[in-house]
């Protein structure tokens, strides 16, 4: 079934903000939040998206679910084009892709029971009603490891980890092909984090759902993902399958990122080679010329400030955008 449509196909996607200015205001600078992004995600695959704050991870996620329009490029979810789709079509597509955010407290309505919260998308889509709806909600709660009678409770009666389970149950209600997880465990305690990660893996095994997993925790990424993409100032700078990525990271930014993530083992951590990056992440309103990383890169030479390196394939299958790596 290799020609079944990919769950997600991004082609040369660019998302910019501002630049026009209002009626009375002067035009502000254009924030190039996402540029030249190509990505495919297959069925039951988990792709991690890593990068520093402001590099465009959430913007890209919002674009995939149709909350943000790209200035150019194509976004296909299970073969259907999101860009320029009419309202009805967009509605159909949104059924196939769901989003889970970092803070479960913010994504739940405190005045609705969790049962009503989970039922909402089912009612809106007319998937089920009455008794059948109740059973559907009960099954979903069980799937995420919560008791069906919890349906009558309110969010404040749950712990953070339980609330994130509710959010996951709602995201799964419409049997999506793709779930975008934007830092889904970083607000949770370590011991709860493991429960949610186990749950996401188990659900994938059962339903074949795919994940785009936004995270800065490389330990979690290594655990849960099949492929990893590194983003810097709106562009992908490295993409590789998990084992290649962790065994042999190539882009100098990836290496710096890896060396900066503290390993939960004092012996390993204290003997690790450290690459401390100088400088600040430049603003996406003023992206450096050539390779956007050249202002902080330990390998930078003259060409780096002049020519932007394209993503090129390496013998082990990794794709890297760097003149010197």
């Amino acid at each position: 079934m290799s020609d079944a449509p990919k769950v997600l196909e991004l082609r040369d996607v660019a998302v910019h903000f501002g630049g026009r200015g209002g009626f009375l205001s002067s035009p502000g600078p254009v924030v190039k939040a996402v540029n030249g992004v190509d990505l495919e995600i297959g069925r039951a695959e988990t792709v991690a998206l890593v990068g520093e704050s402001g590099c465009g991870k959430s913007t890209l996620s919002n674009t995939i679910v149709g909350l943000q329009a790209p200035v150019s490029g194509s976004v296909r979810v299970s073969g259907e084009e999101v860009v320029g789709a009419d309202k009805k079509k967009l509605n159909d597509i949104r059924r196939k892709v769901q989003m889970i955010f970092q803070d479960p407290a913010l994504s739940l309505d405190p005045r609705s029971t969790v049962g009503a919260t989970i039922a909402e998308p089912l009612i809106v889509r007319g998937v089920a009603k009455g008794r059948e709806l109740k059973e559907h909600v009960a099954t979903l709660l069980q799937q995420v490891g919560l008791r069906p009678e919890f349906a009558d409770r309110y969010p404040h009666q749950f712990s953070g980890g339980q609330r994130q389970r509710v959010v996951i149950a709602r995201a799964l209600a419409l049997e999506p092909d793709l779930v975008i997880c934007d830092e889904p465990v970083s607000a949770l305690d370590v011991s709860v984090r493991a429960q949610i990660l186990n749950l996401l893996v188990a659900l994938q095994k059962r339903t074949g759902v795919s994940y785009l997993f936004v995270s800065h925790d490389l330990g979690v990424v290594r655990h849960i993902c099949d492929r990893v993409v590194v983003m810097y100032l709106g562009r992908f700078v490295e993409m590789a399958d998990r084992d290649t990525f962790f065994a042999n990271p190539k882009h100098p930014y990836t290496k710096a990122l890896m060396s900066a993530v503290p390993e939960a083992d004092p012996v390993v951590q204290r003997s690790k080679e450290r690459i401390i990056l100088g400088g600040e992440l430049p603003s996406p309103a003023n992206i450096p010329s050539g390779c956007a990383f050249h202002t902080r890169c330990p390998l930078a030479t003259e060409i780096c400030s002049k020519e932007r390196p394209e993503l090129t394939s390496r013998p082990d299958g990794a794709r890297v955008a760097c003149h010197h790596a």
């Binding site: 290594r222 655990h223 401390i276």
Partner: protein, 332 residues
């Protein structure tokens, strides 16, 4: 007590009550100059309250009902508000968990940092500004001269956090209390800040009490670790001993739930079933009993004291330290 000879800070049997429950219960530890003590534990276990108590900054709802906090031979609990205010920012500094609330939105960051210096050192304005500029360089803020004249809203969250760190460090405090100082920061910036803290410790002999939930940060910088659970210390140990051979079921499970390098991908991670008891649910026994795989009747009826176990300074509050091998089975 502890192996540390001349502690800079000693917290002795600290107990803090909120609404009739001991949310911090009988906490003791010491920190020597030039050492880093990490406080770790689940959300709500009392880490922040313990640290606020050191600076006399408990919220109105909280009462210190027992214990002593000594900075060398000074009893911090016996200080007047005026004396405390003098000590704060000079001898002891704190970096708060939520930085946004701590900066004045109407004053440039340069004035705020310089003012912290002038108040305690009586320096001239020019001198204080130069010192502030140097501080910004130290915390890794590029273009410091321009940044000094900006207002907090003009800076990113990560930069505001580093401004807070600058204010906390400018007087070269002997004790730094840092409550999740890097949680809101990117890992590359976090690495910079951790290195800065290490430098303070080794070059100036600053002692640090570091609150974090990131076991990676603990592994990176801590000399000693106190693992708290529901207001009590579950285990306290030198960092290498804690990671190599945890002596409390909670610590062992906590460490096992973090994905490791040698872990096979997508395999089940160890978890801790159930949830932390709220203060109103604290029973008479071990507070971890409801979630513990080793639990026996004794655990439910009697609170375990901190037992000495293994190498010096390694203590664990568990009745069944000798059964830890069973936990490793659960965690594998």
């Amino acid at each position: 007590m502890n192996a540390v000879a001349n502690p800079l800070l000693s917290v002795d049997r600290l107990t803090i009550e909120i609404g009739g429950a001991n949310v911090v219960d009988d906490i003791s530890f010491t920190v020597a100059p030039g050492k880093v003590m990490a406080l770790v534990g689940e959300s709500g276990c009392g880490k922040s309250l313990t640290s606020y108590a050191m600076l006399g900054l408990l919220p109105p709802a909280a009462k210190r009902t027992g214990g002593r906090i000594m900075l060398e031979s000074t009893d911090l609990g016996a200080m007047s508000e005026r004396q405390l205010r003098k000590a704060r920012g000079k001898d002891i500094s704190i970096i708060f968990q939520e930085p946004s609330a701590s900066l004045d939105p109407l004053t440039t960051v340069g004035s705020q940092i310089a003012e912290a210096y002038r108040v305690h050192q009586g320096a001239s304005r020019t001198e204080a500004y130069e010192k502030a500029r140097q501080m910004l360089v130290d915390v890794g803020i590029p273009d410091p001269t321009r940044r000094l004249d900006q207002y907090p809203f003009e800076l990113s969250g990560g930069m505001c956090q580093r401004i807070m760190i600058s204010i906390a460090l400018i007087n070269g405090p002997r004790l730094l209390v840092a409550d999740e100082p890097t949680t809101a920061l990117d890992v590359t910036i976090q690495a910079q800040i951790l290195d800065l803290m290490k430098k303070l410790v080794s070059e100036r002999g600053t002692a640090i009490v570091l609150i974090t939930h990131d076991m990676g940060v603990v592994a990176d910088i801590a000399d000693e670790v106190a693992v708290m659970y529901a207001g009590r210390i579950a285990e306290i140990a030198p960092v290498h001993a804690l990671f190599a051979a945890p002596k409390h079921p909670y610590t062992a499970l906590l460490l096992a739930s973090v994905p490791k390098l040698d872990h096979s991908p997508k395999a089940d991670l160890a978890t801790i079933e159930g949830t932390v008891p709220t203060p109103s649910e604290f029973g008479v026994g071990c507070r971890f009993a409801d979630r513990c795989p080793l639990v026996t009747d004794k655990c439910r009826s009697e609170q375990p004291p901190l037992f000495q176990s293994g190498e010096s300074g390694h203590r664990s509050a568990c009745w069944h330290i000798d059964r830890m091998a069973e936990i490793r089975g659960v965690a594998a």
